[in-house]
Symmetry: C2
Amino acid sequence: MEKFVPILKKTKLFSGVGEDDIGKMLSCLDARLVTYKKGEYVIRQGERIADILILVEGSLHIQKDDYWGNRSILGQIGIGEIFGEAYAAPESGPVLNDVVAVEDSTVLFFDVNRVLSTCSSACRFHTMVVQNLFFAISEKNRGLVQKLQHMSRRTTREKLLSYLSEESKRQNSSSITIPFNRQQLADYLSVDRSAMSNELCKMRDEGLLVFEKNRFRLNQA
Amino acid sequence: MEKFVPILKKTKLFSGVGEDDIGKMLSCLDARLVTYKKGEYVIRQGERIADILILVEGSLHIQKDDYWGNRSILGQIGIGEIFGEAYAAPESGPVLNDVVAVEDSTVLFFDVNRVLSTCSSACRFHTMVVQNLFFAISEKNRGLVQKLQHMSRRTTREKLLSYLSEESKRQNSSSITIPFNRQQLADYLSVDRSAMSNELCKMRDEGLLVFEKNRFRLNQA
DNA sequence: ACAATTCGGTTGTATTTACAACAGAAAGGC
DNA sequence: GCCTTTCTGTTGTAAATACAACCGAATTGT
């Protein structure tokens, strides 16, 4: 387990904690290492978990099969990412997604109660880990709210305006650079790429904005 | 401030903590009471906050004005609800929404650092409050992910199937009762009510499901 | 320099949606 | 019982979207 300490040091959960202290905390947090072969399930929809998980090796997919058997990929989990934390609460109910290894993977399980209950003074940084956990889930939360705002708009144009004007506010400038290419932006907003491209050009022709690659400038109406 | 202790006792943050202990914790958590007249801003877009807020009197709206001045109401905050917690992290950046009092309101501010840093032994239930906070934001998170899954579907039919099949799994039955009427369901899924109603009837005619009011039964294909 | 790949824009069509307007059923108040 | 309001379903039309197919430009790898 100790060989993963350098990876853990880079995670959001252990941000600010030294490698020596991480090593000491592993037993305190009841850390368990589990390996999965490609294709195996880390979490199955319907399960109940009381752990916070960190991927330390490999790659995972969050996916969902609906009542009629259609599968959709909701996201990917990379090395160092925290997951499962939203279902660690006792009243959370069962997990609603499957988490599957897309290559041979290794996952570290932490008992959520051990994490949340500050223990003996041996863990100097326990309080910091609790804060880190809170901040990490807060960050997820903010991202979800943002995306929800854009996606709740009805038309492609409105979704674009919602996203671009928010980015403009966030970057505090009418000239912004976005972290997506066209396909990624379309996926992010859940619209068709070509339709979105079409709409962007219409908006440019109407003078709402100008763009070049992933740089945009918004114009006042 | 003490007159709000009975209200606080019912909140998710202080769940499981007695009134006497809540009273003692208020100073420990650096609680501050602020009143707002109808129309005043509790939080302005662009501000940075380092507090967790609880509404103890009145009613608030979360709203957003985009770059071109269009306003949209994102949600309502009722008495006892926690808010602001997602922006309490130091690296969270500025708040992206306005929070406005829609009637005369009273808000309790808690310093997030006091909440997250377990204090002296005087606060027996401090650990419990930290857990409650974590569970509360987890719950918000789960709701957001669920909604996002439904909204990311392209057609009204797919959104309905996504929502209904998830409810079916959650209620562990093919016969489910939903907490929405038609208009609320349409708002939840961000679609047009009449179009959704139309689509529901088509699905019924095709034998996918049957419904009466807010009760639905899904059929295997 | 060249080939292969990715990326972004354009177009046409079938599908789907939003919107408005309307009507019957159900629920609630008096 | 009667009126009013809310809820739900229906229809038609204009608008927007998804999808597929295509093309040229830019990028990448060799």
